[in-house]
């Protein structure tokens, strides 16, 4: 068990920064965190440089709370806004080239499986819609075809946020954004159907309106990926900068979008359902 690696040598303890000691004493390692504990425990991510009121930053915070065994988890990200905070979380984070998340995650998962056959190690890909549905599309699809056992979480802000608001494949048809001067000419890519067709074991779509649902969904996605097969979560995490949403209106926007076109979807294979019920007592 790698919990011992979280504690440093006792003689160093008096000299460690408070944040570090808090992580050891009040952090989520070695226990499963509950949403109700937020505020009384040390979270994996506290500070980040993402925009004020960014829905993606909030979603990432909830996701980190959901990780069942952070001491045995690796997050794989890529270029895009999300990595700005993910790279500051108290969890190993791998940041390669733009497009490579699902290839890198494949290698990490397989390498860890060879070295630690008795200890599950959860690998979680978290990247933007451009990173997963455009430039990284092939690697995402092929990791699903190969049934690689890790979770893929799309931070879908429907735009290239980090490069200043260009059209992505997940932008809605007709939307006028940069590089779509007369409005996007084709439909938002239907990644859910593609996941379905690829035999992904657990598929979910959600927005940020319900924190308990975020934690629940992400936890299931990670657990199913551990034993059953690839999982996919697609989260609407609006970009307030590029879609001009004032920070105080971010939740309102999410509620509206959820009602109009981004309703909660959850599908899983029989094997996934059985596993969650039997092993984890999750319905």
């Amino acid at each position: 068990m790698s919990l011992k690696t979280i504690n440093c040598s006792p003689v160093f303890m008096p000299y460690m920064p408070k944040e570090y000691l808090d992580l050891i004493n009040k952090g989520p390692f070695g226990k499963e965190m509950k949403l109700s504990q937020v505020g009384s425990v040390k979270e994996l991510l506290e500070e980040h440089p993402m925009c004020e009121g960014c829905a993606m930053a909030y979603f990432i915070r909830m996701t980190l709370i959901a990780i069942p065994t952070p001491e045995h988890s690796v997050i794989v990200g890529t270029a895009g806004c999300g990595r700005l905070s993910l790279s500051q979380a108290a969890i190993p984070f791998v940041y390669g080239n733009y497009c490579d998340t699902n290839g890198v995650a494949t290698g990490i998962k397989r390498g860890l499986a060879l070295r630690f056959p008795e200890q599950h190690k959860d690998v979680i890909v978290m990247a933007g819609d451009g990173g997963l549905a455009d430039i990284g599309f092939s690697q995402v699809m092929h990791s699903w075809f190969r049934k690689e056992k890790f979770a893929t979480i799309m931070l879908d802000n429907e735009v290239y946020g980090n490069t200043g608001g260009q059209e992505s494949g997940m932008t809605r048809k007709g939307e006028v954004v940069k590089m779509a001067p007369v409005g996007k000419q084709f439909e938002k890519i239907d990644m859910l159907s593609l996941a379905r067709a690829s035999g992904v074991a657990y598929i979910a779509r959600l927005t940020i309106t319900n924190p308990a649902r975020i934690v629940n969904t992400i936890r299931k996605a990670i657990l199913v990926a551990r034993e059953i097969g690839p999982t996919y979560v697609q989260a609407y995490t609006s970009c307030n900068i590029e879609y001009t949403i004032p920070p105080e209106k971010v939740m309102d926007d999410a509620r509206r979008v959820e009602q109009e076109r981004y309703s909660f979807v959850e599908e899983m294979s029989d094997a996934a359902r059985e596993y969650l019920e039997k092993v984890h007592n999750i319905k």
């Binding site: 690696t5 190993p92 984070f93 890198v104 494949t106 390498g111």
Partner: protein
């Protein structure tokens, strides 16, 4: 399918490379490479087909089927294969992959990021024409692109080198003070598909497994402190601290390459090999051009001329001091190459600038699949009257 693990004895790299008795076999370069992999204790090999590389990685697939390699799959493309290799190596397992020409070019973004991620990997390159027009013929222009990536790059002359350099590549790549990918290149077809004598230790022996906790960076395995590691620090912010970080990181890659020199001496017997030291007319070559040059040197000797030959084994790090020393008495140097750019010629000129008065001829060069007849090298050495040019 249940895979029965073959019984192999772990021996030291020194024993495997230098001491264990060897037997001779008449095999192709592709076979020689896979024979090396068989003895290399490889954990993960990832393949994507391209001529003339495919045969090697197919054979490595067979090794997986026989239990010599622990994990193997055919990737979606080169970017996928090289990315997965990069992920796997971060977890501490021994990794290898291979490619040729267009495949290498397709994956170049990933290849160029391996050194910065400090991932030990062995990457076999079976050189071929880069598109376009599309051609599968041998031509090693792609190595020009490899030179600035931070990868260590060896250029094997023949089947024997391909076997030895590949095994040595794993050992050097995983040295603590190196911790860099090692690319082992050969000229496609001329080496991969042609047979040559290769002396090999028994396949009952293999290298020790990768000892990942002795390397320069922590593994991504959640088993070593500190709890939080972002080895690939996103230092894209626009401030001087991030510029400094990036600059020092790049300098460190360069320094790690420098530190690999002593291991190249140990495991490859040096960065160069010199035939007829002190000669006034010298051939400098790498890869299969060396074999052609050896024959030219032999024929020149029959004509009563003593021609020097310097074989460059390591392109990165480049044998700067060694070449300056070995070219001390040279008056004229020719550089036979299998590419149109003349990258070895360019490297040599930069190396000898202000260190030699020798004339460096701009060739001979063949490319696009053309072979290099010995006569061509001789023409560049001698004028019509049979005197050295």
């Amino acid at each position: 399918m249940e895979i029965v693990k073959p019984q192999q004895t772990v021996v030291t790299p020194e024993h495997l490379l230098f001491e264990a008795p060897r037997k001779r076999a008449y095999i192709t370069g592709s076979e020689a490479a896979s024979e090396a992999i068989k003895r290399a204790n490889v954990d993960i090999a990832i393949a994507y087909p391209i001529t003339p590389q495919s045969e090697t990685m197919q054979r490595v697939g067979d090794l997986f089927g026989q239990g010599y390699v622990r994990d193997y799959y055919r990737a979606e493309d080169e970017v996928g294969a090289f990315s997965a290799i990069s992920g796997a190596s971060r977890t501490g397992v021994r990794c290898m992959t291979a490619s040729s020409g267009p495949g290498l070019m397709r994956g170049l973004e990933v290849i160029a990021s391996w050194p910065g991620h400090r991932v030990p990997v062995v990457f076999l390159i079976m050189c071929r024409v880069i598109n376009a027009p599309l051609s599968i013929q041998p031509d090693n222009l792609e190595l020009d692109y490899m030179l600035s990536t931070g990868n260590i790059v060896f250029h094997a002359e023949n089947q024997q080198d391909f076997f030895d350099y590949t095994l040595a590549g794993f050992v050097i790549s995983e040295k603590c003070e190196v911790t860099l990918p090692v690319a082992v290149a050969v000229d496609g077809f001329f080496v991969t598909h042609a047979r040559g004598w290769v002396e090999m230790p028994s396949s009952d022996l293999k290298l020790p497994p990768r000892d990942c906790y002795r390397e320069a960076v922590p593994m991504i395995d959640n088993e070593n402190p500190p709890i939080r590691i972002a080895r690939d620090a996103p230092i894209q912010k626009s401030n001087f601290i991030s510029y400094q970080m990036h600059a020092s990181w790049q300098q460190e890659i360069h320094a790690a390459q420098e530190r690999s020199r002593r291991w190249i001496y140990k495991y490859l017997g040096g960065l160069i090999e010199v035939v007829n030291p002190g000669a006034e007319t010298v051939i400098v070559a790498s890869g299969s051009a060396v074999s052609q040059s050896r024959e030219a040197v032999r024929q020149a000797e029959e004509m009563g001329h003593r021609i020097g030959l310097i074989k460059v084994k390591s392109l990165r790090p480049f044998p700067v001091e060694e070449l300056r020393e070995a070219c001390k008495s040279a008056k004229r140097i020719i550089v036979p190459e299998f590419n149109c750019a003349g990258w070895l010629n360019r490297e040599l000129r930069a190396t000898l600038y202000n260190h030699s008065d020798a004339e460096i001829a701009p060739g001979p060069r063949v490319f696009g699949g053309i072979t290099m007849p010995t006569e061509l090298i001789l023409q560049w050495l001698f004028d019509k009257t049979g005197n050295c040019r």
